[in-house]
Each structure stands twice: as C-alpha cells, then as structure tokens.
C-alpha cells in the first residue's frame, strides 16, 4: 500500500519538476523588454476614444473573445443546472436565513457593492473598471444577498427564470449581429457612435455577467436539508 | 458503360434481395434468376464482341492518380463467363438446397454480391481495381462462410478472415508500391512494366507481395489453411465460391500478374517465376497426398481443389505459351468439374445425411444419376480423355515439356495418378451395397438434381469441343496468345 502511494507521488513530482524546469528555461531566455501588442493597442484605443485600453481590448478589439466568454458563463450555468438532482429543491438552504453577523454585514455591504459596480461601469471607459469588474462585484453582491437570505429567488425551471439566465447572452448576440445589417462585420460598432454603443454594451454586460455569476451560484448551491443522497 | 454490367447487375440483385427481406421468397428467386440469366446474356454478347476484337473499357476517377476501371478483354471474360453462368446454375441448386433454411435473404444477397465482386476481379483493368474487387470479395464471402452461425462456422470464418485480410494487406502494399514507382499500369498482354524494368529488386519484392496476396485465395501452400475449414459453409457456397469464384479469383490474379503485368519475359528474367512454379508443384503433391487420407467428402474435395488450383499456378509460372493457355483453360474446366462434385456432396448430405466416404456404400444405387455425374467429373479431374480435364492437362503437360521442364511434367503425371487415387475410392465406396435402398420416387429434389446433371454435361462438352472456337480451350489459347507476342500453336 505504502509502496503504491509512493509510486503515485513520484510521477506528479517528476511532472511538476519538469514543468518548472521547462518554464524556467523559457522565461530566462526572454529579453527583459518586450512590448507585445501594447503599442498598437494603445494607439487603436486612443483613435476610438476609449482611454481605458483594457476595456477597448475586451469590448472592441477582442470583443469576440468576450462574446464567447459570456457563452462560457451561460454554458456553465446550464451545465451546473443539468447536474442538479432536484431543481425544485434549489435554494431551500440558502433561504434558510443568515446569522446575525452575516446579516448585518450584508446590510452594510450590499448597497456599497452595488454603488461600486455602477461606478466601475461608468468609469470603465477611462479608468480601471468595466463590465467584467463591475459584473464581478455585482455578482458577488448578489451572492451575498442570497447567502444572507435577503433575496429569496422563487426558483423553478420556469420560463421567466430561464429568460433571466439567457438574456445577457441573447442581447450580446443581438448587439454582435446588428452591424451585419448595415454592412459591417460581426461586433463592428459604427464609428460615429462607437463610444456610446460600447458603453451600452458594457452596461448590459455588467448586468449579464452579474446575473450569470449569481445564477451560477444559485444553480450550484446545495439543498442539503433533506440529505444530499438519493 | 456496358463493361460494368457483369459487375453491376449482381450487385443490384444483391441489394434488392436484402431489401426484399426474409419473407418474400418468390420475388427473391425471380429477381436472382432473372439477374443471372440477364447478365449471362450480356457476358455472352461481350464475348462475341471480344472475339471480334472489340473490347470495352470504362473508368471512374477515384483518388488522385487512381482510376477505378473495368475492361472486357477475352481473358477476363473467360473468368467472368464461368462465374456468371455457374451463378445461374448454382442459384437453381441453392433454391432447392436452402428450401427450409433460415436467413435466406442474407444468403442470396451476399451470394450475388460475391458474384459481382468476382466479375470485378475478372474484368478489372489494372492492379488497383483488381485489388479493390479482391477485397470486396473477401468481405462479401465472410457472411456466407459463417452463415450457419455455429461455433465451427464462426471459427472457420475467423480463420478465413485472418488469411484473406492478411493477404489483402500484402496485396495492398504491393499494389501501392507499384503505383508509387510506376504510376498507373493497366494490364497489357506481355507486360506493363517496361518503364520501370531496371528496378529489379523492388519489382521482385512487389511480385512476392502480390503472390502472397493472391496466393491466399489461390490456396498456395502454406497459405491454404483457411480453405478446408471454410467447407462448413452451406454446399452451394462451397460449390460456387470455393470451386469457382473465390479461389479462382486468386489464381486469376496470378495469371494477370504473370502474363499481363510483369509479362512472361520479365517474370522469367527477374527469376521470380521459377520459385513460384516450385511452390505450386509442392502444393500439388502435398495436397494430393493429404486428399488421399480424408474421410470427410467435402474435405477431400477441398484438398483436391488446392491441388488443382496449383495446376493453374504452375502452368502460369512456367511462362511457356502452351502451359499458360492450359492454365487458363483449366480455370474453366476445373470450375465445372469441381462444382459437379460439390453439388453432389451437398445433395448426398441433404438427401441422405451422408458426409463421409466411409458412409457412402449404397449411395450409388439410391442416387444413380447424381453419382454418375460425380463419376464423370471425377474421371475428368483425373485427366481421362475425352473429358474436359484431359484437354487442359494435356496443354499443361505439353507446355511443360516444350519448356524443357521435365520435372513439371512429372508433377502433372504423378498428381494425375494421385487424383485417381483419391477419386476412385469415393466411387467404389458408393458402388458397394449399403443400407440405402433404391428410391421409389425422384432420387432427390429436382432443383438439386438437374443442375448437377447440367454441369456434368458441360464437363463432357468442354472436353469434346476442345478444338472448336468458343470452347474454353480455344478461348484460352486466343486470350493468352498476345502475351507471348502473337504466338499460335
């Protein structure tokens, strides 16, 4: 038995050491400066009037990655839902109430987090922040609310709930396909109102990412009151 | 397009048979018989054109630098005619034999597909097309070999596949190798490899690979192991496939290989013909001796088949025109002789449940017409004039003598004696009085009896007409002459 365990440790250890060596060699061979795509990206962002380059990269230059990523989030939610044994029992434990500490904390934190999220979206085009960050904070706030029992989702596999889960992706696809009507390519915002459109997309995405994260958690949260086993 | 008919009609018949399903027996029989008669008619008309010098060729482009084509030359048509005409005869026999069997749709469907593939082998215009049909033949035969679904049948099927697919693999490598060095090489009488004649070692290796491929179906020792086992298949399968279509596809491949791909001259100068001849000679002698000791009638016939196939291989490998013509003629002659015997064996088993030579006393009295047919075929096989076997053996021996290969003549003579040795005991055993009383009514199902008589009559006719145009012997000489630069006997 011990010999067996010894052997099972040896392979992972070798693999880890090997990876360390390989990465180390590759990194040490690099020159200490390297611009990558930083320069053209910054220039491009400036040209399109979005001071925060990262937002420009995420929503404009590489918006396709982001589209697929929203798809990943929704897919994960669907995946987690499909793995539930009993969707009707969802959130029983969540709604079971929170302790006093968590309750107070939530009461204090949730509004602040909502504000932060809104702020992040608004400043996202110029300073740090944007749909991802805002959506993440929004999602975290939502999860906190669920955990403390302040929001009790009347969960079922009902149509309305499903719409909420899917709306972020559907809207984004709509926005992505819209330019095709006017001769643009997928996700090509018309230059005259590029900035406004991007802000709109950002706002929608924030909600969508926030909702996706919350639903990811909701779909995943256990209902252990009746015992997890079949 | 007419060139595809001998391939396409049986293929279509097979498809329809499978789609008709198990229950519609009458429609199935009609479709099969009509298909056989129709394609026989087409083959006969193709033969007439070919005699007149008109051959049809048709190609389908398939892969880059690879076409898939058939051509109705006289040599190919000989094999095609044998397969197609005997398909019709066998159908009648099989309808009787399989009267109460199960899975008849599967049986007749794959049967027709085998014929289609055998015709493809016959008419294929180049080694690649031949290889493709050859593999299809292997595959379509498998369900027939395992038809009974018994453990022995499955074991025999496994063995068959092992040999057939192994041989197919060797053939594939040979064919692909040849294509990579020589490009497309349609069969040409006298040889098609003029362009690459210098690359001797590669050509020798390719020859060996191809012989290994064809040798499996031609049951060239030591590649013969599958054949005796495959006799567990229903009698019509043994008759048609293991006397006509499958094994002949192997020897036919060797004939094409020696005469029309390498050409007798190149095959001789490369020094590949003689080893092949020696192998064939060894096969003849060894399998004849083994046949002497078989009590199971079908097994005895199987070993006899192995010997007779090597007659053809040996005749081809001698690379003398007379022997080559004799080999081609023997292809047709052996087909009618051996099919008579297998039919008989099947009929005797189906009627009296007799499988072994030692159980045969009384059979001749119980089934006189059947056993007379058997006797005709047996004497023909042993080379008694004026039956079919005599004509081809005479050519083979004469060719060997002309070539100066005295040892080959000796092999032929010895094996003729051995053939008498393993055939006569069957007859004497059947003639002895035994437990089977003379039949009151017909001696067996007429659908089984008359095909036997028909093929026995063919054995006689082929022997008697050997010199006339249109007989297998004349046909073979005509077909083989161009390979030896327009030689005439």
């Amino acid at each position: 038995m011990s010999e067996h365990r010894h052997r099972t440790r040896l392979l992972p250890l070798t693999a880890a050491m090997l990876m360390l060596g390989v990465i180390g060699r590759a990194i040490l061979a690099l020159p200490t400066t390297g611009d990558g795509l930083a320069v053209p990206m910054r220039a491009g962002a400036e040209a399109s009037g979005i001071p925060n380059v990262i937002t420009a990269v995420l929503l404009d230059f590489r918006g396709y990655d982001t589209l697929l990523e929203i798809a990943v989030l929704m897919l994960a939610t669907v995946a987690v839902l499909s793995l539930r044994e009993d969707p009707a029992a969802l959130s029983r434990r969540i709604a079971g109430g929170a302790g006093p500490v968590l309750g107070t904390l939530t009461r204090a934190l949730a509004p602040i987090m909502l504000l932060v999220a809104g702020h992040l979206v608004l400043v996202g085009s110029s300073g740090p922040g944007g749909a991802f960050q805002g959506g993440a904070v929004l999602g975290a706030a939502g999860i906190l609310l669920m955990l403390s029992g302040y929001a009790r989702p009347a969960w079922a596999s009902r149509r309305a709930v499903r719409w909420v889960l899917a709306v972020g992706l559907i809207v984004f696809i709509g926005v992505a396909l819209y330019p095709l009507l006017s001769g643009g390519t997928l996700l090509q915002y018309p230059p005259e109102n590029r900035k406004d459109l991007i802000l709109l997309v950002e706002a929608l995405l924030t909600l969508s990412i926030g909702a996706s994260l919350v639903s990811l958690f909701l779909a995943s949260a256990s209902s252990t009151e009746g015992g997890g086993r079949r | 397009m007419i060139a595809w008919v001998p391939v396409a009609v049986p293929a279509l018949v097979g498809l329809i048979t499978l789609m008709l399903g198990e229950t519609r027996g009458r429609a199935r029989n009609a479709v099969n018989l009509l298909g056989a008669i129709g394609s026989s008619a087409v083959v006969v008309s193709l033969v007439r054109s070919a005699y007149a010098g008109d051959t049809f060729t048709s190609r389908i482009p398939m892969l880059p630098g690879l076409t898939f084509g058939v051509s109705t030359d006289l040599l190919g048509l000989l094999f095609s005619a044998v397969a197609t005409v005997l398909w019709g005869v066998t159908l009648v026999y099989a309808i009787g034999y399989m009267d109460h069997a199960r899975d008849r749709a599967r049986f007749f469907g794959f049967f027709a597909w085998c014929i289609s593939a055998a015709n493809g082998v016959a008419l294929a215009e180049d080694p690649i097309s031949l290889f493709i049909f050859y593999e299809v033949l292997s595959l379509t035969t498998y369900p027939l070999v395992v038809h009974n679904g018994t453990p022995e049948a499955l074991a025999a099927g496994r063995k068959y596949l092992f040999y057939a697919l192994g041989g197919g693999a060797a053939l594939l490598v040979g064919v692909a190798w040849l294509a990579s060095i020589a490009g497309p090489t349609p069969f040409t009488p006298g040889g098609a490899l003029g362009a690459v004649a210098g690359r001797n070692n590669e050509l020798r290796a390719i020859f060996a690979l191809m012989v290994a491929g064809f040798g499996v179906k031609a049951a060239l020792m030591p590649l013969h192991g599958w054949l005796p086992g495959a006799m567990v298949a229903p009698a019509p399968v043994s008759s048609l496939l293991h006397a006509v279509a499958v094994v002949k596809a192997g020897v036919f491949g060797i004939i094409r290989l020696v005469n029309e791909l390498y050409g007798p001259e190149l095959a001789t100068s490369l020094g590949v013909a003689t080893p092949l001849a020696l192998l064939a000679a060894a096969t003849i002698l060894i399998s004849s001796v083994i046949a002497l000791r078989q009590d199971d009638l079908k097994r005895r016939l199987a070993y006899s088949t192995i010997a007779q196939l090597s007659y053809i291989t040996l005749g081809t490998a001698l690379c003398s025109p007379l022997a080559a013509a004799g080999a081609v003629a023997h292809l047709a002659h052996h087909a009618v002789m051996k099919i008579t015997m297998f039919f008989t064996a099947g009929s005797v088993y189906e009627t009296l449940h007799v499988k072994k030579v030692s159980q045969m006393p009384g059979v001749a009295r119980r089934m006189p017409l059947t056993m007379i047919s058997f006797a005709v075929a047996a004497f023909a096989l042993a080379g008694i004039p004026p039956l079919a076997g005599f004509a081809s053996k005479w050519l083979l021996a004469a060719g060997a003598a002309e070539d100066g290969s005295v040892w080959a003549v000796l092999v032929y003579v010895t094996s003729g004696a051995l053939a008498i040795g393993y055939m006569v005991p069957v007859l004497t055993s059947a003639l002895r009085p035994g437990k089977h009383a003379p039949a009151a009514g017909p001696e067996s199902d007429p659908r089984m009896l008359w095909p036997i008589v028909a093929v026995a009559v063919l054995t006689v006719v082929f022997g008697l007409t050997a010199g006339l145009p249109g007989s297998p012997t004349h046909w073979a000489i005509t077909a083989i002459a161009p390979s030896f630069g327009g030689w005439t006997p």
Partner: protein, 93 residues
Amino acid sequence: MHVFDILLVGMLIWIAVGSLNQNRLFKSVVMLIIFGLFMAIAWIRLGSPDVALAEAAIGAGVTGALMLDAVGHLRERATPYPLGPEAAEDADE
C-alpha cells in the same frame, strides 16, 4: 521595494502550499480564499487594477462561495480516503 514583492510572492506560495497540504477541506478552502485576496494585491503591484478587482470579486468571492457550498455538501469530510458507502453514511450525520 523588491523586498515587498518577494514577501508577497512568498506569502502566495506559502498559502498555496498550505491550502494543498491540508487535509481539512474547510481550511483548504479558506486558505484558497485568502490566496485570492493576496493575488489581488499582487495584481495591483503588477499595475493591473482591473484584474485585481475581478480577482477579488470572482477569484476570492464567487469561487470561495462555490467551494464553501461544496464543502458544506460534503459535510466537511476531510478524511482524504473515505472507503465507500459507510463513509458516506457518516457524512450525512
């Protein structure tokens, strides 16, 4: 200033090792959450406040919540090698 960076990275590694080298699952997960918070600091040090925000909210927050929930589901059975149904029975206590 390198000292701070080295300390920070050292902390990260130490917490990571601790999280893996810990048979009590609950502790492992808490350490992972702390790890996420330290990562956020590292992102700020690397001039990426955007990533820092996302890491704090998602890496530490959402991941942590998911993990805690799962651990709750498994009833903190940190025995690394439960041997079958009997162990599961215990877990439901």
